[in-house]
């Protein structure tokens, strides 16, 4: 390499995104899904993964027509792969290919790590229920352990159980891509993949890896997943058109709609990307993490934790949230909201954004693509980050659909119902987890 191309220290500490991929309820490739987001399409439909007809919630955003095998070098290596890992493998292959890492001749796999925010795998409900009921001692109101295990060993399957461990997507991706560097999985509920990208960014900045595959994958569209959220009364139980059920920021929002899928991104030091001639899609500028330390069931009412995460990310990015440039343009041009469509989240997130940006807040468009693909839970932050990068690329903001009845108490610009052209250079993406863990990542046009 010629001397003038030697990286400067700042290039080693700057982190760029060089590849992206997703498997979502709106499709399985970057451009199709993006086109549908800009068109305001909904991926929400009746659940057919199991018979949910009598459940309080009967619809979700399912990934349909997906075949992981076409993304794998040798599918037999991943025999029995769970849905969680399968989504991750497809998304990661797209990201890896876009980043051109297979053609990176001397890629040092010990300098390639992973930080995922993957959820737990799908509970193998039928055999599980069968073992539990076989062991049930109605008189004593307990499960008899001996009877339970006898049935369990008969009906449960080894691979289906192992695949439920939340670190299995890491294992599959490490095997598929030969990754040997530091690998982590975090599971901070709905904040997981934003946190994962923030920590991956921090690991590269510190020099502990050149490349980090990061993102999330999750599905909770299974019997006990829907049950759990229905019991919490967090899910929309609308009985109308499923495509209208996810209504972030609308006055008549009635809870979130479950989605599933995966978003994966390749994060890389700028120096490494330059040295191998990779094209940066955007630069990661800042990351903030906080805890509400309030209640496991409720968000801190003033949005203290959410604001703290945003403020920390902006501070690291060197952006003054209250400042505007000579043309009156704020320092952040798009906020990808957590925007779940629950009464509580959307009100408090709005309050937190106002708390951070003050008078500038109404001038920053903020939308929720959960209105179209549902809430991907642990994977939500990763697909939302990809949408941010594409918003910068195309100068287009994805809308919040179903915003039919503005809530007088929510007075920010939620990009209602239709995509909008807009010059976007800096984006902020929020994810807030059940229990109070909050994460924000800020990116910029490269």
């Amino acid at each position: 390499m010629a001397a003038e191309h030697l990286p400067t220290p700042s290039d080693r500490q700057r982190v760029v995104i060089t590849g992206m991929g997703w498997i979502t309820p709106l499709g399985h490739d970057l451009e199709t899904v993006w086109r549908r987001l800009l068109a305001g399409d909904s991926g929400i439909a009746p659940i057919d993964r199991f018979d949910a007809a009598t459940f309080p919630t009967t619809f979700a955003g399912q990934v349909r027509g997906y075949d992981v095998a076409k993304y794998l070098a040798d599918p037999s290596v991943h025999e029995g792969v769970g849905l969680n890992s399968a989504f991750a493998l497809g998304a990661a292959r797209q990201a890896w290919d876009q980043a051109g890492l297979d053609s990176a001749a001397d890629l040092d796999r010990r300098r390639v790590g992973m930080y995922l925010g993957a959820g737990e795998g799908v509970l193998d409900f039928e055999p599980y229920a069968a073992a539990n009921l076989a062991g049930w001692d109605a008189e004593r109101q307990i499960v008899d352990g001996a009877r339970w295990v006898e049935k369990a060993l008969e009906v449960m399957r080894r691979v289906r159980e192992v695949e439920q461990e939340p670190n299995m997507p890491l294992a599959h991706l490490a095997r598929e891509f030969g990754i040997r560097g530091p690998t982590y999985n975090c599971l901070t509920a709905c904040a997981a993949s934003t946190q994962a990208m923030g920590e991956a960014f921090s690991i590269i900045r510190r020099g502990d890896a050149d490349v980090m595959l990061s993102g999330g994958t999750h599905t909770m569209i299974h019997v006990l997943g829907i049950t759990g959220f229905n019991r919490l009364t967090a899910l929309s139980t609308s009985d109308g058109d499923p495509t209208k059920a996810s209504r972030p920021f609308s006055r008549d929002r009635g809870g979130f709609v479950m989605g599933e899928g995966s978003g994966m991104l390749v994060l890389e030091s700028l120096a490494h990307a330059k040295a191998r001639g990779a094209r940066p899609l955007a630069e990661v500028l800042g990351y903030g993490s906080s805890a509400d330390a309030f209640r496991i069931t409720d968000i801190q009412p003033e949005g203290r934790g959410a604001a703290a995460a945003m403020e920390a990310a902006l501070a690291q990015a060197g952006i003054d949230p209250h400042a505007v440039d000579a043309d009156g343009r704020p320092g952040v041009h798009y906020i990808s909201a957590h925007g779940t469509g629950t009464q509580e989240n959307d009100s408090i997130e709005t309050a937190a954004v106002k708390r951070v940006f003050g008078e500038v807040a109404p001038r920053i468009p903020m939308s929720s693509i959960k209105s179209m693909m549902g809430h991907l839970i642990a994977a939500a932050g990763s697909v939302e980050m990809i949408a941010c990068v594409l918003a910068i690329r195309d100068g287009m903001l994805p809308p919040t659909i179903n915003l039919e009845h503005p809530d007088p108490a929510l007075d920010l610009d939620y990009v209602p119902n239709e995509a909008r052209p807009s010059q976007v250079d800096v984006c902020l993406s929020n994810s807030f987890g059940f229990g109070g863990q909050n994460d924000t990542v800020v990116i910029r046009r490269f």
Binding site: A174, A291, F434
Partner: protein
């Protein structure tokens, strides 16, 4: 990189079969006691290994460790959460910190926004009695479970907050709420590597100035039918039959090692920046000097068949040594995972051989799994707590190992406790799935 803040351990809160805090654990380790016994929590007679190291009600009453003002929340704590809450209280007490949880009326020692929390967790199994009581309400006349009945009415028999008991991030969430930790918070779920990965992340968070203090570690209990079954399916548990001395079951690094035993437990460590610890006149137990991680090459997609060459174990250790700006010669003892699972032992051993070479045969290996079982996501924090205690006491615990066949070339056979000159101790974790984490702790002058 220069200019890092040094990070110290100022409190350790292990929770194990021996009880809450370091005192009961340390005396058990010095005496070489074993807490493994036949399982009493449920009828485990049908499992291949009906033995475990339980944290019994005699040594741990969860309610006693939850502040009065937060007792209502105790009913939404799964076992794993209870263990984390107990461990955090013990660690904070040892560190001498005042928090909202120790005294709601006092000014906290540290500003809440400067305190982070990173607690590793596992896949938490639902309480089988509670869930099945609800499932049983949706069985039709023929004794068959009815999904239609479950959706329509059966699920109403689960308490509304049912799912919140089982989200892995709830360990950290309850601890942050009790002690008012508003700084960065994460939940790492990488099986046995979770604890050391969490403590390594806390170290980075403090180094880069995002917090001054972190409560960090992990906790888990696989002492339930589902947890045990998954371990059995993954071929990790020793097959035990007939009368057996429980202290003989786990035989780490032995040629006749035959698997591990489930333990309940975990640990929370208090990590603090050198400057803020000094400012509050706190006392360091040991320095957390270095951290490193890597991913094992595996033959299969699930990461169960690790390459026995141990190259990535060595890579994680080398990173931790580099980070501590030292080399293998400063390490005077190793606390590995040491599970007694032959394939995992082999990977650890191979990695240690790559790093320590000719010195390995005389390097003391501290094993605790024969005493307190394999505590899964809690294991790494227990290992680091023990490493810190060894450094503080300049003493090595006794070692249990019933095998006559401890392989040559490794100081891992049964041995009594002894004083030792320990400058630095290496801690190692290998997670089921392939994550490897290493940390170096140094004694404080």
């Amino acid at each position: 990189m220069s200019g890092h803040r040094r990070v110290y351990i100022s409190g350790v809160g292990p929770i194990t079969t021996f009880g809450v805090g370091m005192a009961p654990l340390w005396s058990a380790l010095l005496e070489g006691r074993c807490g493994i016994a036949p399982i009493t929590r449920f009828d485990a007679s049908g499992f291949g290994c009906p033995f475990a190291a339980e944290v019994s009600a005699e040594v741990f009453t969860p309610r006693d460790w939850v502040p009065k003002s937060y007792r209502k929340a105790a009913k939404v704590m799964s076992r794993d959460i209870e263990l984390a809450v107990g461990a955090a209280a013990a660690a904070i007490a040892e560190a001498g910190l005042s928090t909202r949880g120790t005294d709601p009326d006092a000014t906290p020692t540290l500003p809440p926004a400067r305190v982070g929390c990173h607690i590793g967790a596992g896949l938490i199994a639902a309480d089988v009695d509670e869930l099945t009581a609800a499932l049983a309400s949706s069985v039709d006349e023929d004794g068959v479970f009815s999904l239609a009945g479950w959706g329509a009415t059966g699920m109403q028999n689960l308490t509304p907050l049912w799912m919140l008991k089982y989200l892995p991030n709830m360990l950290a969430c309850h601890v942050t709420i009790i002690h008012d930790c508003q700084g960065p918070s994460n939940t790492i779920t990488c099986a046995e590597a979770s604890g050391v990965l969490s403590i390594g992340e806390s170290m980075r968070v403090i180094e880069r100035g995002d917090a001054d203090c972190c409560l960090s570690g992990g906790a888990e209990s696989k002492l339930n039918p589902m947890g045990m079954l998954r371990q059995q399916f993954a071929d990790r548990l020793a097959a035990v039959s007939g009368e057996i001395d429980p202290a003989s079951i786990v035989r780490p690094f032995s040629s006749d090692a035959a698997g591990t035993v489930v333990g309940e437990g975990g640990g929370i460590l208090v990590l603090e920046a050198e400057d803020t610890l000094a400012a509050r006149a706190g006392r360091p137990i040991a320095e957390l000097a270095g951290f490193g991680a890597a991913h094992a090459a595996c033959a299969d997609g699930s990461g169960l068949e690790m390459d026995p060459a141990g190259e990535e174990v060595a890579s994680a250790i080398a990173r931790a040594l580099d980070d501590a700006r030292t080399d293998p010669s400063e390490i005077d003892a190793v606390v590995p995972y040491g599970s007694g699972i032959p394939a995992v032992d082999a990977v650890e051993r191979a990695g240690l051989e790559r790093i320590f070479g000719d010195r390995l045969p005389t390097l003391p290996i501290v094993t605790v799994v024969p005493n307190l079982g394999s505590c899964a996501a809690g294991a790494g924090a227990i290992g680091l707590a023990v490493a810190a205690k060894c450094l503080a006491e300049q003493h090595l615990p006794a070692r249990l190992n019933a095998s006559a066949g401890v392989p040559d070339g490794l100081d891992a056979a049964a041995a009594p406790a002894r004083p030792a000159d320990l400058r630095a101790v290496l801690s190692l974790s290998v997670g089921m799935g392939g994550q490897i984490a290493a940390a170096v702790m140094r004694r404080v002058p």
